[in-house]
Amino acid sequence: MTRRVSLNARLAQDAAHSAEIEVVLILVEHPDLTAPIRLSTDNGERISVEPLIYGTRSTWRGSNPVTEPFLFILASAELPSDLEGAPAEATIVIEAVTGEVARLLRSFTSRATVHMAVVLASSPDVIEYEATGMRLMLAEGSAGEVTTSIGREPVEEESLPGLSFTKDRFPGLHR
């Protein structure tokens, strides 16, 4: 599958030495959230001192770079896979620095929508790769880290109601 990336990103990937950093931006939306959660894997800029927050500013998906920065998290992100015969699945491993993370991940029942994008730190508004509309499927954790799996809705597991052969539905059987 070919994919279009910007020339700068391609040059950076082909160069022997490059100073570009690829950053994964994550946007989590959920009906219970008043505002979407914006996360980034790069500490490009100190956003505030109290609390100490780093982040990346980008206009991806209509974010306002001034008021809605993507906040830096201690996480490693795995982009959606490209396997045969399996739905694409992305993984985000979050460093569980507090127990609050686990409590939050257990606190909702409907699935959150997750969008991911890859940008270069030097050009955070140019999207090199984007995977949108994925669902948060699974979050399991240990004491040290929480692994969240993000994929599509498991449409194969949708149960189809079987029809019962009643008089109303199949009058021909009951003649």
Binding site: H17, I21, D42, N43, G44, V49, A121
Partner: protein, 140 residues
């Protein structure tokens, strides 16, 4: 919860014992042979600085209470004047100090936002004075 500030009672760090190093923000590519290659892992890098201060008994108490209670044994960040910039005269292109209107030299000001380093402060005695050597990690 405000960020703590380095106590102004403490003296400037000694020249001997000062050491500053940027923590490596790169990721080395593993190659069996040949020149090394790196890619960047983070946009901003922390810096590790080793400092030594020479203090009296009263100042040692100030440092101890700052380290143990204000930063809770070095777990909270604090502001600290950068000893290599803060208070140094500002120089012009030929190296002469830039003077303010009343003839006083303009001084530079710089603050570090930092944490105590990975090793806790070490205290030694020299005569009647104490030498405290500690490391700070300057946050980007």
């Amino acid at each position: 919860m405000t960020v703590a500030t380095w106590p102004s009672d403490l003296p400037r760090p000694n020249r001997a014992g000062y050491q500053r190093q940027t923590d490596d923000p790169r990721l080395a590519r593993r190659a069996e042979a040949g020149p090394p290659a790196y890619r960047r892992r983070w946009s901003s890098a922390t810096r590790s600085v080793a400092l030594v201060i020479d203090v009296s008994r009263a100042q040692k108490a100030v440092f101890d209470s700052f380290h143990d209670e204000v930063t809770v044994v070095g777990s909270l960040p604090f502001w600290m004047p950068d000893p290599t910039t803060d208070g140094w005269p500002m120089l012009d292109a030929v190296g002469a100090p830039v003077l303010a209107g009343d003839g006083a030299p303009l001084l530079l000001a710089a603050q570090w936002l930092c944490l105590f380093g990975p090793t806790t402060p070490v205290e030694t005695l020299r005569g009647l004075r104490f030498q405290i050597s500690f490391g700070v990690t300057v946050l980007p």
